[in-house]
């Protein structure tokens, strides 16, 4: 969480440094006979291979009351397979210095693997073993659920780790985007092995899978290898429930999460934002760089540089398949809570009133373009980018035309983006802090005031 640009956008440079053309390195897309989408990109120089796979079922597919099911299913993939115990899997993986990770995001499950090119066969065997043949041993299920429940408790001891869980819960309410991807202390305790197996059987299918492989290999040979290993995965019908677009919150409401020993108030202010494929996404990126997306942003200048109220203030659009969240976030000592929130609201009002200047636009454009190349320097970054673009239906132009699209943002377009995508008066407030010191002062922000204690299980009103 910082002022670095959020979102994954970058390039691999083709050609010399002098030509400033941002271009994605060549890659190919193949749909296997069983329906699995395969993306291959050679990237030479470092002898590493990265796999980034997406299963098109995320936490939105969790049944109500069993939040965390997609997440737990993903975490258990490596915890015992048809031919390896969890410990054997760990030993085989660690011995070649490889890594494997899997976890659920809101819209999808992300699986990543990395190994040295010389260990290609073993690396692919481990990844396919976990993805195609997980056994979900009861003992491992019990162990992992107990760990994840304590993991939620441990996160609550590091306030910054849970701020957005509370905010999304309060902002999206009963919409699936409001439920915690990793579950909470109550929902995790309800998950049974049967539900995990059922979730896996229903959603982990070749047709639901996008697999990107990038790194040190020959694409032609890699394609043959992948077809050997994943081609045998039988095709299967899978219907994922559609997710509706969340609607913006009308009016204002405020949730204060009481942490009685807090010396600082952590706050988030915002409303529903935009979808990942929103036609205005590039202009939003430029405007948000100016408003809250870098060190000299208007928010950070006002709350940190000019006033010393905080270590950092930022804004971001956390975009999803459907409209995600927009948020302003910062923190300040208990005594200056109202002063800092007032100031953040003033900066937001000023954005609506004054828009952005031509000078600010030019600076933001240069900043985004200048910081772009290192975000896709490695095969891991590239594999994640192309799999994610495929999932969201974004083509190569997302990168190849980015510079042109950035250049095309005018003050008039910026003004329209601000009006359309930045909330003005309809605002959701989430605060974590010492209620006995700050509750009175923050009453003025919203007619609807809600409270809960950080020790109460769960993050959102629907958690029971």
């Amino acid at each position: 969480m910082r002022l670095l640009l959020s979102g994954i956008l970058a390039l691999g440079l083709a050609g010399t440094a002098a030509t400033q053309t941002l271009k994605l390195p060549p890659h190919e897309k193949v749909v296997l006979k069983n329906g699995m989408t395969l993306l291959l990109m050679e990237k030479h120089g470092v002898p590493i291979v990265n796999v980034a796979a997406i299963i098109k079922a995320g936490s939105v597919a969790d049944p109500v009351g069993q939040e965390g099911l997609a997440s737990v299913t993903a975490e258990l993939l490596r915890k015992g397979t048809a031919k390896r115990s969890a410990q054997k899997f760990a030993e085989d993986l660690d011995f070649i210095g490889a890594s494997f990770g899997a976890g659920a995001d809101v819209d999808y499950t992300a699986i990543s693997g990395e190994f040295l090119g010389k260990d290609l066969d073993q690396g692919l065997d481990l990844i396919s073993d976990a993805v195609l043949h997980p056994a979900f041993p009861q003992a491992e299920v019990d162990k992992l659920l107990a760990q994840d429940i304590d993991g939620v408790r441990a996160a609550k001891d590091e306030v910054q780790a849970v701020v957005l869980n509370y905010y999304y819960g309060y902002l999206f309410g009963n919409h699936p985007y409001g439920r915690p991807e990793g579950g909470d202390e109550l929902s995790l305790a309800r998950i049974k092995r049967d539900a995990i197996v059922k979730f896996y059987e229903a959603t982990y299918t070749p047709g639901n899978t996008i697999m990107a492989v990038a790194g040190e290999f020959s694409a032609a040979q890699m394609r043959v290898k992948i077809e050997q290993v994943f081609g045998a995965w039988p095709a299967k019908a899978s219907s994922l429930p559609p997710v509706s677009a969340p609607t913006a919150v009308k009016g204002r409401k405020l949730l204060l999460v009481d942490k009685a020993d807090s010396t600082q108030t952590f706050f988030v202010i915002g409303n529903v934002g935009v979808a990942e494929n929103d036609p205005d996404r590039v202009a939003i990126r430029v405007v948000n760089t100016i408003f809250g997306g870098r060190f000299t942003s208007e928010l950070n200048e006002a709350l940190r540089v000019d006033s010393g109220l905080t270590y950092g203030a930022q804004s971001f659009f956390d975009s999803k398949k459907q409209a995600g969240a927009f948020a302003i976030s910062s923190y300040t000592k208990n005594e200056s809570t109202v002063q800092a929130i007032d100031l953040a609201l003033q900066v937001l009002a000023k954005l609506h009133q004054d828009g952005v200047s031509a000078e600010q636009l030019a600076s933001a454009k240069a900043y985004i373009k200048g910081q772009f190349p290192p975000t896709l320097e490695t095969s891991g970054q590239l594999a994640r980018l192309i799999s994610s673009n495929e999932f969201y239906g974004l083509g190569d132009d997302e990168i190849n035309q980015l510079e042109a699209r950035i250049n095309a943002v005018t003050p008039a377009i910026a003004k329209q983006v601000i009006e359309e995508h930045y909330p003005a008066d309809q605002l959701v407030f989430l605060l974590i802090g010492k209620a006995s010191e700050i509750a009175g002062g923050v009453k003025k922000y919203a007619p609807q005031q809600d409270t809960r204690k950080i020790s109460e299980p769960g993050f959102w009103p629907g958690a029971k």
């Binding site: 993986l93 600082q264 290192p374």
Partner: protein, 452 residues
């Protein structure tokens, strides 16, 4: 740290401990990017590694000054000073430095540790001149505006509240170091005690500047789309005219040998307890560095590591367990941290860690474990070397902490030479009861939580 909220200690640990290889292949590949060096007339050493893969450059300046050069009453001054380096000089006034950089596509940051203060610039090569102009301006002509000092004091206090007050790990780590060291300056936090943050004066800052910010006390590392010829030319123009002066006085305090276990307890509101165990270990350039890193991998890296298997998988008493050791000029600490599960007495985690250490001390690790650890180091070496930023940080860290960047390329050989017996020997030498400090954070609301 200027603006990234990541935990400082974790970041520094990653810098050095996670960057080496045990293979000759890695060594050969690293050498495909030769490093050109030059020592300027004012004593600043400059290292350049050219790589045209992307049209960008990473530039690091390491100043050999940190919280070990401070004194009681002004703890945290190095870190506060780091913040002030962004608040205006002669040509680039207050707020103008960041604005000029960002308008030219550049980003910056900085971090401070017990030992060094490091400034980082990441930029498209088109901004090369600007970056040198800015760096030369602030090294020579930093401005101390009283109003700016007051507002930055608020920023640093907020940073401390976030990293320490709002983090159980931050609180316990701070108390642990303050207990493990009784004489050496490593005993106080890099961010400083809150009462010191509130009381620094403009004169303290000026003295710190004069002491630590001499060109002869700094090393510059440049990696990316720039040739050594053009970097050395820019250095001649912008940096070389800056006069040298005396570096900080040497830190002469030597921590006396610990002669018995120390214990501390922190009581606070918390969902879960925490456990940390610190052992005194030598400074980074000690020859045991390589064997200690192999030992660390065997103990805590990956789900097949000994501590993970024991505490997380088999006994199921902890959510995670790790071991960190940061780069240091002076003898430092290796710290185990374990997150006990709810209702588990941290004493159980402690006993399991001690038991695993005894096993390592009594019986050499297996050939398989040794080979695994070397393989893991190889991949981590590639992780560091595959970005221009990773290489700038790694090359600079080796140059500063080992006194020779070539140690990056010798690391492969040095790891290959580590034997099972070496690993056993360092375990016996450093992981003794008399040499440890045990810190526990106990939730003061445990009785209300149904703890067993």
């Amino acid at each position: 740290m200027k603006k990234i909220g990541a935990v400082r200690r974790a970041l520094l640990a990653a810098t050095l401990l996670v960057s080496l290889s045990a293979s000759l292949r890695a060594q050969n590949e690293a050498q495909q990017f030769p490093v050109a060096t030059k020592t300027l007339r004012n004593g600043m050493k400059v290292l350049v590694q050219t790589d045209h893969s992307i049209p960008n450059v990473a530039l690091y300046i390491f100043y050999r000054i940190g919280s070990r050069n401070e004194h009681p009453g002004t703890t945290g001054l190095s870190h506060f000073f780091e913040h002030m380096m962004f608040n205006g000089a002669k040509k680039y006034g207050s707020g103008e430095l960041d604005k000029a950089m960002e308008a030219n596509g550049a980003a910056n940051n900085a971090y401070t540790s017990e030992n060094v203060t490091v400034y980082q610039d990441w930029f498209p090569r088109s901004a090369l001149n600007l970056i040198f102009d800015i760096e030369a301006d602030r090294i020579q002509y930093l401005n101390f505006d009283p109003k700016k000092i007051e507002s930055e004091r608020g920023v640093v206090a907020s940073e401390r509240r976030t990293e320490v007050d709002a983090s159980n790990g931050g609180i316990l780590d701070e108390q642990l170091r303050a207990t493990a060291f009784i004489a050496h300056p490593y005993q106080w936090p890099v961010v400083g005690w809150m009462s010191d943050i509130e009381h620094w004066t403009i004169d303290d800052l000026k003295r710190h500047f004069e002491m630590g910010y001499a060109p002869n006390n700094a090393t510059m590392v440049v990696v990316g789309d720039a040739t050594s010829e053009e970097i050395f030319q820019l250095c001649e123009k912008y940096i070389e005219p800056i006069p040298q002066h005396a570096p900080p006085p040497p830190v002469t305090t030597v921590e006396p040998e610990q002669m018995g276990e120390r214990r501390l307890v922190v009581h606070k509101q918390a969902e879960l307890p925490l456990l940390m165990i610190a052992y005194h270990v030598p400074q980074t350039n000690n020859p045991d560095f390589y064997a200690m890193n192999i030992l660390r991998t065997v103990l805590v890296q990956g789900e097949s590591s000994r501590m993970y298997k024991r505490l997380v998988d088999q006994d199921q008493i902890a959510l995670e367990v790790n071991l960190t050791q940061q780069p240091a000029f002076d003898p430092t600490l290796a710290i185990f941290a374990a997150q006990p599960k709810q209702g588990v007495d941290p004493v159980k985690c402690e006993a399991a860690i001690f038991d695993e250490l005894e096993k390592i001390k009594n019986t050499p690790i297996s050939d398989q474990e040794l080979e695994k650890a070397k393989n893991i180091r190889l991949v981590e070496f590639y992780h560091q070397m595959r970005t221009i930023n990773g290489r700038a940080n790694t090359i600079g860290t080796y140059e500063v902490f080992f006194g020779d960047y070539n140690k990056v390329f010798a690391a492969a050989k040095n790891y290959a030479a580590v034997s099972k017996e070496d690993v056993q020997r360092v375990a016996q030498k450093y992981f003794s009861a008399n040499n440890r400090t045990v810190g526990t954070l106990v939730p003061d609301n445990a009785r209300d939580r149904g703890a067993k």
